[in-house]
Symmetry: C2
Subunit: 368 residues, 2 copies
């Protein structure tokens, strides 16, 4: 079997690593000549909307998938012309590319979301403040990630300036949620509708970037864990999503509130390579290719620590008991995800010291 | 960092898979244009004793290692001329390439081995029978593997014909050991002498080929498990072995008896990819590159089933709970190892049904 992937970054790199043992060959389309996945997969160096590049990455492929949600619609259309299935289906992209449609979908499913109002001009400010209040957060409806395209609105008076700053139209104004922690849930769904639902995890962010994931989320009440998983399942089913998606959640005193959907393998699922029976990457490959899904159960407990900006010394990381290092081969840059380290242990207590050691090294590298 | 590997078969393929996340690039030397490791590593297509090929695979490498024990001595000499370290050191090769020296090493370390006698001509038959008795097994001292280069000797009268069959010289005649099962132990040793010792495993052979490994070996008495691990450690230390080696053992009513040494990653260690915190492949990479070794502890229980001759349908294997499939991309051939499947579970009881399902599929493929 053969899989085409739009994007050749670290997510495609880990997808290709999961595909290789299954005998699935991989081609990636990525304009960067030294993208991570290019080291182990066939690499088509072209823009994502380049017709020849799209033809090449889909040549001989059973399915084409993607590692990022901002896939140009023209790319999907081009691939569809060849009769090569693009999975997840375009609906997963078009809805999640738009924060407004995403929120509407989830609200329509009865999933609790933050109060929100759409803003298409400065004139919408008053009505939005009426509905949502302040403080809040103003976001572009499209093309935002890792904290980009977002402005905090402290008081009602700040909203007009924020609207102007973000371009004045196609915005969404959301009420701030008071949460005790951030959670996420990863779901894999097969072409036959079968499901593999990972245990919800706890995520800690820094500078708007994921810093650390604890899997499963410690001390999450069973009913809240079930609710988080049900949110993931209902979103996946509503989108008829094939492959992996992730729903980011807030844990609040009033229960789980959904934040946003990523229609792809997700950084908060990296722990699953070592920490679950079958990883999110392998289950995405299995799912889009119509193969049976693997078991998403956690094996003991795991923590994933992102390495951002610069990398700690490899030997220092590997000296930590239970550590597995994944380094993406990217050059250092402030705020850039370069690698991650996963720690596994039999219990939360046994994880504490290795995790603390990893955090010290990775935090220092982040600050360097 | 960069690692050269002599050989590009499935062992090199799994070494390259373990190297990739660590940021270690790999070049393999293998005369076969479609060797497994060539799919994910730089591939030098040349004979193992080809000077230009050896130069190329070692170019820019920090270390050169090997995936098979019959590395030509000339190759090691050539590499040494370049000043590229070859690890494990040549002693691990020269001793384990020769069943007589291997036996002598182990006997000298106080490790229990089968009675044996060296045979260099037909004239040695009588003395060998005096020492070892019959039945026994006659083997070539060098270049035997997977049951090749071996003849069973049922009665004393059969020995002369067996000697003639195997070439008359450079043979070793061993007494048959009455064993209840076969075991093995895998040990990784770092450049600093640090050790990572995997739990002993139980191996079942078929047609002289490994069929199934259970890890850890079920119901192995703690003192025998410790003895097996001590055997592995003393062999590794006596050879000043760097990287992974495996000692194959017999479990007998009188305790552990050592059979032979493989100075490399070993089929009976494949379970460790999913079944141990750090796999034998990653620990070999770490070991030869001077990086800290990872934890060899088992995570739950695992079974590895070899796929030999032909391959079962991928989807059927992946439908088994807890199954991970590794398919080497080789064409079918009687007696050829094509793939393996590893099952993981929390307990031996929980492993029973998935293992039985995998055995049914893999046995049928073996017989096909």
């Amino acid at each position: 079997m053969r899989l085409g992937i739009l994007g050749g970054g670290q997510l495609a790199w880990m997808l290709a690593q999961a595909a290789e043992p299954l005998g699935v060959s991989v081609a990636v389309l990525d304009p960067s000549p030294d993208c991570a996945a290019g080291r182990i997969a066939d690499h088509v160096v072209a823009a994502y909307d380049d017709p020849a590049g799209l033809d090449e990455v889909s040549k001989g492929a059973d399915v084409v998938t993607y590692e990022f949600e901002n896939v140009p619609a023209a790319a999907v259309t081009r691939l569809a012309e060849h009769g090569v299935p693009v999975l997840p289906f375009p609906a997963s992209l078009t809805i999640t590319q738009d924060r407004a449609r995403e929120k509407e979908l989830m609200a329509g499913l009865g999933i609790k979301v933050a109060p929100y109002a759409l803003i298409d001009s400065a004139d919408d400010a008053a009505a939005a403040l009426d509905k949502v209040g302040a403080p809040g957060i103003l976001k572009t409806r499209r093309l935002g990630y890792d904290g980009k395209g977002q402005v905090r609105v402290k008081t009602a008076d700040d909203l007009p300036a924020a609207i102007a700053e973000l371009g004045g139209t196609d915005l969404i104004y959301e009420g701030l949620i008071t949460f005790t922690r951030e959670l996420s849930v990863v779901v894999a769904r097969g072409t036959d509708g079968s499901l593999a639902v990972y245990p919800p995890v706890e995520n800690e962010h820094r500078d708007g970037i994921l810093a650390c994931t604890l899997a499963p989320a410690p001390e999450l009440a069973p009913d809240q864990a079930e609710l988080a998983q049900a949110v993931g399942v209902s979103v996946a089913e509503a989108l008829d999503h094939i492959g992996v998606l992730c729903v980011e959640l807030f844990d609040t005193p009033d229960g789980i509130v959904a934040n946003e959907i990523a229609p792809r393998v997700h950084n908060s699922g990296h722990w699953s390579i070592e920490g679950a029976v079958t990883s999110q990457f392998e289950n995405h490959v299995r799912g889009v290719l119509g193969l049976p899904l693997g078991d998403p159960s956690a094996r003991g407990v795991a923590a994933m620590v992102n390495i951002v900006g610069t990398e700690p010394e490899l030997a220092a990381l590997l000296a930590i008991p239970g550590a597995s290092v994944h380094t993406y081969g990217k050059s250092p840059r402030t705020g850039r995800k370069l690698a991650h380290v996963t720690l596994v242990a039999d219990s939360v207590d046994a994880l504490a010291v290795p995790l603390a050691r990893a955090r010290v090294l990775c935090d220092a590298a982040w600050d360097a």
